[in-house]
């Protein structure tokens, strides 16, 4: 009786079986990667009209975050500096730098500089900067090592599970208020004990309250 299957069918069958397993694994890995970083530009440098370096301004020059992000303590939005703020220094120093041409042009023509947003949330999420600052959450907790960024990139996914992680365990991330704007702050080894003390001191509401949906969605 003639063979129904060609000899190659054996190999094909084996390859298919292994292939399916490999394919599923590959899909899982890709999906994991994609989910974690790819679609939120995690760690990717954005091309900005001016290659602004937080590293230079924060670490080298020691300028405070609030010099430019003026409303971070009072408003939901931290604020992006108007061109005027840049020119308060750059009308005196680096006045001929070609890199700063867009800034000078903006100032002269009264046209805004259009920056690319790096840390971005969906429109149905209502994040508020001022309350986090007031409760002892530092800039770098969310924005990552901003003092080491020559070009700003997104250091955290800002996914809901990432937010919730902190809202569930605020003592793991809270820091003394005097270090909120420190770009070099490292949590101490006894963060857990310190954190629990600060949670009490700063009246941080219980996880049940701050993980409530209406905390961020409305």
């Amino acid at each position: 009786m003639a063979q129904i299957f060609h000899r190659a069918a054996n190999t094909l069958a084996k390859a298919t079986l292994y292939g399916i397993v490999l394919l599923i694994a590959a899909i899982c890995i890709i999906a994991w990667e994609v989910n974690n970083s790819y679609n939120v530009y995690l760690g990717e440098h954005q091309v900005q009209p001016v290659p602004f370096s937080h590293k230079h301004h924060v670490t080298d020059d020691g300028i405070d975050c609030r010099y430019c992000h003026t409303s971070v303590e009072t408003s939901s939005f931290a604020g992006i500096p108007p061109t005027h703020t840049c020119m308060s220094c750059h009308s005196k120093i680096w006045v001929n730098s070609p890199m700063l041409e867009p800034v000078r042009e903006s100032y002269l023509t009264d046209q805004s500089i259009t920056w690319v947003r790096v840390n971005e949330l969906p429109d149905f999420v209502y994040f508020n900067h001022s309350i986090h600052i007031a409760k002892g959450i530092g800039c770098t907790t969310c924005h990552g090592p901003i003092g080491d960024m020559p070009i700003t990139y997104r250091a955290n996914t800002l996914y809901m599970r990432w937010c919730i992680n902190c809202h569930k365990h605020p003592w793991r991330y809270v820091r003394p208020k005097q270090y909120v704007f420190s770009a070099t702050y490292k949590p101490p080894p006894d963060q857990d004990a310190l954190g629990r003390k600060l949670v009490k001191e700063y009246h941080i509401q219980s996880p049940r309250i701050i993980t409530d949906c209406y905390t961020c969605h409305r």
Partner: protein, 1044 residues
């Protein structure tokens, strides 16, 4: 409420009447169909899809739909592969002062309404006005607002506003216009202004008045005319008749214990309605059995917002109100000439003597208010009665007219039109108000307008008037312009712009300054310089400080007029103007529309979709008659053949399948009044006076915009100057046409038993949704509103209980005794929460999106029922039925007791809505939010998500406001104070019927209200434990009057 056919003929009003009588007046009902228990109504209540199943718009068949579903499920995963869209941030070059991105700013301004300044406080987010509140510092508002103030912000962003200057039907240029004005000015300077006319609405603005006076000085022969369709001519002439001069009457309802309204809707249509509603409700606020209430007697034709609140309401045709006023004046011993001897034949015998005794017992604390529709004689009589009762100086105060030049506007307009007809007018400058549309039918304004050589129209819209003018200048909205206006008591309210004119609009001030020969003066300069010239004693620097403080408060201090001593004329003669025999036919009555007013808000979608008080009619007007008159008309109406296209079917947009049900179409009748005819659908309104037909103005616009054009019928087309408010001799005829009217009265019926047993009535109002007593009954039994012990089940929930002993616990109390059903809360909620407008067809399918609704209930007989309003937002149940059925956890419970709705989780199963006994959840069946019209984007409140298709939404207790204030309190290390967070509905409510707060705090206002014995919850027997509760309604009837 309808006069429509059902299977076996017309709605049987006779049997409805007898049914209501056998119920001994104790039963609450919502509509005539419900009482009649028509087959159609039962079908409507019991069917799964009461509004019918819509055909798909695309005409796709089932097989294709399944294929697509499969494909979209498979492809759904792929969306995870797209990257988040990149957003841009565009900061300022130079940031303005005091400007913090992300934080709103508030500016005090004023909205001119009926010429009178209504104080507003405007939210501004990143430079765009999004929401209007009342101004606390303004005497006419006291922090409260009505529907027109709330909705005016939508007009600002209306994409149909005129955006360019139009010359002879084409786009013109401003420079050409300036040249034209220069030529006109030069010509009229030569001829002393002969033939130059200005037509404005009512002007109370001191600055505009100064400009007009200057113009009349420069052009001595020029004339200034004023005309508004709802001008208060009768009020003005009544004052002149009584006192010999134009004076303004201020009522002090906060001092009045007995109030008589003679056809006066002082809580709503009066220019001081917001303030009056507040004062009136304060005198009805009950905190315990010792509290006192005022007593309101209302005499009126159709139930108005004021009349419904009356402890005794007498239905009289407007012409009979005058006879009533004369009898009342006679009985009070008022001595004037020409009082007459006429009396009303069918007045209940105990009414008048009891009223007279009540008034005489309250000398100095009573007030008699005559309504604008009544002729001057009735106003004069009201003044005389108030004087006789010693009310003047106490509850009634007179001040100088707040207008720059009080005029009889109808006469002024008639004069203008007759001059136009005889060619005496060469140049006419029209400042708004669309006179072509609103002109009385017997004053041929439109016909004579073209006889004027130069016609210049300043208006917000390209409308009926603009097409007949040579020049149409787009007007600046009041939120875009500088100005001023006087409040009802004379206080000057400043108007300041929140945003630069979106379409280069000009204000009336800026237009007039061109004719004054001072081009180039901006609105700011004009208003600022005028007030500086009034404050010569101040140095320029000191004036700037003063000016800033005025702008901050929105009012100029100390400009309220002082009370004025006036004396009744000795020779006061109130002989009726026309003593001819009253013709026996029907009486026609015109009233301003309770949502779109005189037509100035016709293109406002929020107001069009707002259910009108009582009738719950949306998007249309109707020919309103009483049940008895409907019966008579059904018997007697003759059928006529109409010429022309008729009314059309009145169904929604072109892509929809035929309207909900064929039989819900209303009978169109032809009204003939003094030789003019108009067609309109007939609607039966319980509580209206017999033998009169009530029409609302503002509909039937030819050119209003995409929202307002061709809706309803134009009542102006049969309204004459002589019979501006009412007149007799109306004939009604049947046309055999049908028209679809859409009412929300049957929507969201609460408490319908799901499977009515045999013989059980479909009416569910044995459930006591409205609880009511008289003040006397309440004093004897303060607990009348409590549920009987066997009703309130203390049953435990199967679910674990929540811990409500910590943090804030939000709750709301709605005082039915204060609520007047003015709808302001609905529009405030719509503006605050980005609620979409759905259109007539979708409303007809039961899909309006309002988060808060005002239910109307009737009790008692068909002809003169008691009428109740009940405001229903989400109850925020502690045991919320909606939460248990959501398969995706999109509606969950908060530790603060709020029943949360999370849009981004919702997949649209609508189980929650099904399981909600209060029917307060709203579903986005289509993409109702407008995501395509750019001019509407800046309107949205940035603190609230704009919902998309397929998402459920509902009242959130304005969670964005709670969080906003909570965050700032937390930052300051304190807890929220009582009254710090106001929900949008609470903040605007003119009568403070809605109070919201932390119920765990015993000293909070809401906790105190909830501790009152009048407190009850809706459907508490279901063990839902609602957080929103009510305070029962109380009446304060005169024990001497026995009436049903």
């Amino acid at each position: 409420m309808s006069s429509k056919d059902n299977d076996n003929g017309r709605l049987d009003l006779v049997s409805i009447r007898s049914k209501l009588e056998t119920d001994a007046g104790k039963r609450f009902w919502r509509s005539l169909e419900e009482v009649a228990e028509t087959e159609e109504y039962k079908r409507f209540l019991n069917s799964e899809f009461p509004y019918g199943v819509e055909k798909s718009r695309s005409g796709m068949n089932r097989r294709d739909a399944l294929k697509l579903m499969g494909a979209s499920a498979a492809l759904a995963g792929l969306t995870a592969c797209t990257k988040m869209p990149v957003e841009k941030i565009v900061p300022y070059v130079n940031a303005p002062e005091e400007f913090v991105p992300g934080k709103p700013l508030f500016y005090a301004s004023a909205m001119p309404w009926q010429g009178v300044g209504q104080g507003v406080l405007v939210w501004s987010f990143m430079g765009r006005p999004t929401k209007i509140e009342g101004n606390n510092d303004h005497p006419g508002s006291l922090g409260r607002a009505n529907i027109f103030m709330q909705a005016s912000v939508l007009d600002l962003y209306d994409p149909d506003r005129s955006q360019v200057l139009i010359h002879e039907g084409r786009v013109g240029s401003w420079s050409d216009f300036l040249v034209q004005v220069d030529e006109l000015r030069a010509a009229h300077l030569r001829n002393q202004g002969a033939g130059l006319r200005f037509l404005t609405g009512t002007v109370t603005s001191p600055t505009l008045g100064d400009q007009l006076r200057d113009l009349l000085k420069q052009f001595p022969q020029a004339q200034w005319h004023q005309y508004e369709p709802l001008a208060r001519d009768n009020t003005r002439e009544g004052a002149r008749l009584a006192f010999g001069e134009y004076v303004e009457t201020i009522y002090k309802f906060d001092q009045a214990d007995v109030i008589v309204s003679l056809d006066a809707d002082f809580l709503f249509t009066h220019p001081a309605g917001v303030r009056y509603a507040n004062d009136f409700a304060n005198k009805r606020r009950v905190t315990g059995p010792d509290s006192k209430m005022n007593r309101l007697y209302a005499v009126e034709a159709t139930p108005t917002i004021t009349g419904v609140q009356a402890d005794h309401r007498l239905r009289l045709r407007p012409s009979q109100v005058e006879i009533f006023a004369r009898s009342l004046a006679g009985a009070l011993g008022v001595k004037v000439q020409g009082l007459g001897e006429a009396s009303l034949p069918n007045l209940p015998s105990d009414w008048l003597p009891a009223l007279v005794r009540d008034l005489q017992n309250h000398r100095g604390s009573s007030v008699i208010v005559a309504g604008e529709p009544q002729p001057p004689a009735v106003h004069a009589l009201a003044h005389a009665m108030n004087a006789a009762l010693g009310n003047v100086g106490k509850t009634v105060v007179y001040i100088d007219s707040i207008e720059i030049s009080p005029t009889n506007q109808t006469q002024s307009f008639r004069q203008l039109v007759s001059d136009m007809g005889s060619g005496k007018v060469q140049t006419l400058i029209i400042l708004g108000h669309n006179p072509v549309y609103t002109a009385p039918a017997d004053i041929p304004f439109a016909e004579n307008l073209t006889k004027v050589q130069q016609r210049i129209y300043l208006g917000l819209y390209e409308d009926e008037t603009s097409v007949l003018c040579n020049w149409h200048v787009p007007a600046a909205h009041y939120l875009e312009s500088w100005g001023d206006a006087r409040a009802y008591d004379g206080t000057v309210s400043t108007i300041q712009p929140l945003i630069a004119p979106l379409y280069d609009g000009k204000s009336a001030y800026e237009l007039l300054t061109l004719f004054q020969g001072q081009p180039g003066r901006t609105g700011h300069t004009i208003v600022h310089d005028y007030w500086q010239s009034q404050q010569k004693q101040l140095s320029p620097q000191a004036f700037e400080v003063q000016w800033e403080s005025w702008l901050e408060k929105g009012v100029i201090d100390g400009t309220a007029f002082q009370p004025k001593q006036v004396a009744l004329r000795k020779d006061l003669d109130v002989t009726p103007a026309s003593s001819g025999p009253q013709s026996s036919g029907l009486e026609i009555v015109f009233i301003p529309d309770p949502t779109i007013w005189d037509g100035s808000f016709t293109n406002n979608g929020w107001l069009q979709e707002l259910p009108k008080p009582l009738t719950k009619l949306t998007w249309d007007n109707a020919v309103m008659v009483s049940p008895a008159t409907a019966e008579r008309l059904n018997r007697e109406m003759k059928t006529v053949k109409t010429q022309g296209p008729g009314m059309g079917p009145g169904t929604g947009g072109p892509w929809y399948s035929p309207g909900p049900t064929e039989s819900s179409k209303y009978e169109v009748v032809e009204l003939s009044f003094q030789g003019r005819k108009v067609l309109g659908p007939l609607l039966v309104v319980p509580g209206q006076a017999d033998d009169c037909v009530v029409l609302t103005l503002g509909y039937g616009r030819q050119r209003a915009g995409r929202i307002g054009t061709d809706r309803g019928f134009n009542a102006y087309s049969i309204r004459t100057a002589e019979n501006a408010w009412f007149g007799s001799g109306l004939e009604v005829a049947r046309t055999n046409q049908r028209y679809e009217l859409v009412m929300t009265q049957h929507h969201f019926v609460i408490g319908q038993p799901s499977n009515p047993r045999e013989g059980e009535t479909v009416s569910a109002f044995h459930r006591d949704l409205v609880r009511v007593a008289t003040l006397e009954e309440y004093r004897q039994n303060p607990d009348f509103a409590k549920d009987s012990p066997d009703m309130t089940t203390q049953a435990q929930s199967l679910y674990p209980p929540y811990d409500y002993s910590k943090g804030y616990q939000w709750g709301m109390s709605i005082d039915l005794n204060a609520c007047i059903g003015c709808n302001a809360c609905i529009i405030a909620c719509q503006a605050e929460n980005n609620i979409a407008v759905v259109g007539k067809d979708q409303v007809g399918r039961g899909r309006p999106m309002h988060w808060i609704r005002v239910d109307t209930y009737f009790r008692g007989n068909l002809d003169n029922p008691e009428i109740y309003h009940e405001t229903v937002p989400c109850m925020q149940c502690e045991n919320a039925p909606c939460e248990y059925v959501c398969p995706v956890g999109a509606t969950v419970h908060s530790p603060e007791g709020i029943n949360e709705m999370i849009y981004n989780r919702c997949v649209g199963t609508r189980y929650c809505s099904n399981n909600c006994p209060y029917k307060v959840r709203r579903f986005n069946f289509y993409l109702f939010s407008d995501w395509n019209t750019p001019s509407l984007f800046p309107l949205r409140n940035p603190r609230v998500t704009v919902r998309s298709r397929g998402v459920m939404e509902k009242c959130t207790y304005c969670i964005q406001r709670i969080r906003y204030h909570e965050i700032y309190a937390e930052e300051e290390g304190r807890k929220l104070k009582d009254g710090e967070v106001l929900t949008a509905c609470q903040q605007t409510c003119p009568t403070q019927a809605i109070v919201f707060g932390n119920i765990r705090d015993e000293n909070s206002q809401v906790a105190k209200l909830k501790a009152q014995s009048r407190k009850y919850g809706l459907l508490e027997e279901l063990n839902t434990r609602p957080r929103t509760t009510y305070l029962a309604k109380l009446w304060n009837p005169n024990p001497e009057i026995k009436e049903s």
